[in-house]
Symmetry: C2
Subunit: 456 residues, 2 copies
């Protein structure tokens, strides 16, 4: 009984439909498989971490590394140079669904675009949720402390990193400045997610970290603009810097003032509506509009989503909206963390590659500066009784923002391969170190895992 | 004080980052604007319909028509021949975000792919939700009646339509058969959504309609395969037909039997998990895997999602899962209905085009057959006390399935322009007529609008 399965799978009905329709079926199939891979990686990683008392988000990142470019190749992206044949999901479809090698490249490209975009929507929805769970009055109250934390956390690692690379490692000023700049950014997504998981998001320390991370994101954009123009023209375009500072300030203050005017109208609108999804869809429209505005004025979309969350948190619909956002965040947010992990190329740690060996000693220096430069920010707090170490540790993860610096520096030709590898090692190390460390410094009891995962 | 805004908007920081990164920002921005347009159209349309006592889903369809190819051009797709310059969203980004005309085409293509794919996920999640709200035992009980309804609803319009076109309109057999085939399919999405809105999904009539619509979907795939091979080779590939019937039967029966074995394991797994989203993500993984299998064996992905919902509805997690699926469905499902509306090209109704005038009289005939051929199916029910008219009316909407027939027929060259236009008119008319009619025949009281939209 030699039963040939391929006879069934190569069934000619596909030939009857148009190629475009067939290709869109494959894209859908590829996206469905990718989502299954992402969700499986996030839940397996998250559950394992929860069991050994580490933050689940670390498990999602590691789960992403395992299914990504560094290991299983289930989730790879054309941006990292992967071709269709490198994707295990494409190969599964070639084997089970008779996807032709000719169509594979275009299906792979489209499917990757869709997953990347869902991951971007994931971090937008995460920041919207973080905004909803934040307290604007508390943020304003801790604003001055957060501003000092953010400023010190940009200046200290930048100055120490750049000076160290120039004087200790004799690296030219431009690449040294790039590497120094990569030390400045804080990944608000990773920090905020860990804070939410350990139930510390609304603590004073949590709100200082969130406030500082938001300011850091804006400072990071400014630093990137400065460094990029410096490496291109050799001088700083001061008008750009002023433009960015003004637009960031106008956007954040304007959004919050305007939002306070609009939010009562929104509550009235929702109360007068009758159909399903009225609360969630109108809130998401508001968040997406602010995210769009933030993106087009060269800030980041996540800042707009965060501002929208902050504004709607002021209304009496907050609790109800939070409840409805939870399942939406549950399906979108893991895409972000798993994709960050999947795009992390651990080959940079391979000692067989010469530039990695050279990079390793620079990396150790950068990691030291990255940690110390952020941890000291906690000791600038003047309000008594705060966990200074916790605030400093909360600023450590560089995440995807640091990789943007490495990417821009690398593309501009300013960075040598070994310095580039060193920056990536620093980003990986700080990103994966921060979640467990944050948990230790907040000294939270083991039972908090359950309460942080209450909604199920 | 002549303040030049474009100075700010053409800010050169974009030049510093890579083109790919910039393009992905525009794609994200375009997707965010598209989502805002879709949600606004779905809520405005839905609310207006709810107020004049029509099903909200009709408002979502009409909202889609208004923002789509037929009117505002906010949401247009390359598949319909639209270029980047035809998209109002692309033009908004060119005006507000300095999107260059060169980049616009690729941003438009990618953004359209993402929105189309989200719409496909929308109908998958809708069918998963419908499956969750259905009752497998009841479906099996009404199965024989549903099978008769489905069979009569395929045979009667096909035979009457094809014969009428050949003998009354003297159309050649192949295009007549194509048009007849386009009369057979039922849009399960539209019917199920209306049934859910009027609270009739779990009534006996509702379950007969759902069961018959699922069988109709399978019969439609078989009819399409037959007609397509007939138009290509002039003969019916009987092995294909047998393959499709066997694979559909094996899939549905196999999924349900295997599902009954797996679902207790799933409940045990979820109970042992600790992290957020455990219920929803594991359930969606299951649904997406079945959807993938259904898609690659040339059934439809929605059938897999429906089967997954049916299986999980048998567990004691049903209620909890339903609650968490509601917000997810709220954000995905409107994309499907609004996109169906947006892709509906009303220019086919323009009497200034000669083939439309020719098509109109054929369309009137097809509409008559489409309605009568489905309404009579209700009168095949033998269980006493059922609303026969309601079941027949529930089978009327052809929706996107009918358009697939028109598309395949048109691409194969078998259909003349006037016959093609007539089929599209028939699809539009039955799709938009069914929701209000269904409401009338179920004679539901006006207060049911509120209860059908309870979760907010």
């Amino acid at each position: 009984m030699n039963f040939d399965l391929s006879l069934f799978l190569t069934f000619p009905i596909a030939a009857a439909t148009e190629t475009a329709a067939e290709e869109s079926t494959f894209v859908l199939a590829g996206v469905l498989l990718s989502l299954v891979a992402v969700y499986a990686a996030s839940k397996i990683g998250g559950e394992l971490c929860a069991r050994i008392n580490l933050p689940p988000v670390l498990g999602e990142l590691v789960g992403g590394v395992i299914i990504g470019i560094s290991a299983l190749h289930l989730l790879v992206f054309p941006a990292s140079g992967a071709a269709a044949g490198d994707s295990l999901i494409i190969r599964i479809m070639e084997a089970t669904a008779n996807l032709s090698p000719e169509a594979a490249q275009s299906v792979f490209a489209t499917q990757s675009e869709v997953i990347s975009l869902l991951a971007e929507l994931g971090v937008i929805i995460l920041l919207f949720e973080i905004g909803l769970e934040s307290d604007l009055a508390e943020l304003i109250r801790v604003g001055p402390q957060a501003a000092v934390v953010a400023t010190v956390g940009v200046v200290a690692p930048f100055a120490a990193g750049t000076a160290g690379l120039i004087f200790l490692f004799h690296i030219a000023p431009i690449p040294a400045i790039f590497a120094g700049a990569a030390l400045t950014a804080t990944s608000i997504g990773i920090t905020a997610k860990v804070l939410a998981e350990i139930g510390q998001l609304s603590s004073t320390e949590g709100q200082i970290i969130i406030g500082a991370a938001v300011l850091d994101d804006i400072l990071g954009i400014i630093v990137l603009a400065v460094v990029a123009s410096l490496s291109k023209t050799g001088e700083i375009e001061i008008t750009n810097v002023i433009y960015l500072i003004i637009s960031a300030a106008v956007f954040l203050v304007g959004a919050i003032l305007l939002g306070r005017l609009i939010s009562p109208l929104w509550v009235g609108l929702v109360n007068s509506m009758k159909t399903r999804g009225k609360l969630l869809l109108t809130a998401l429209c508001f968040a997406f509009i602010l995210a769009y505005i933030a993106a087009v004025i060269h800030l980041e979309a996540i800042l707009g989503a965060f501002a929208a969350g902050l504004i709607l948190a002021e209304t009496d619909k907050r609790r109800e909206l939070e409840e409805q956002v939870v399942p939406v965040a549950d399906i979108f947010v893991p895409l972000f963390f798993v994709c960050v992990g999947a795009k992390t190329d651990l080959s940079v740690l391979n000692p067989a590659i010469p530039s990695n060996r050279e990079g390793l000693i620079i990396a150790l220096f950068l990691i030291g500066v990255a940690i110390v430069g952020k941890v000291i920010t906690g000791f600038t707090l003047w309000q008594p009784g705060l966990k200074k170490l916790a605030v400093g540790v909360g600023m450590i993860p560089r995440g995807e923002v640091g990789l943007v610096f490495a990417g821009v520096g690398s593309a501009s030709g300013a960075l040598s391969e070994s310095t580039n590898a060193a920056i990536i090692m620093m980003v990986i190390f700080t990103t994966f170190l921060a979640p467990p460390l944050l948990r230790v410094v907040f000294k939270e009891p083991a039972t908090a895992v359950e309460s942080a995962s209450s909604p199920d």
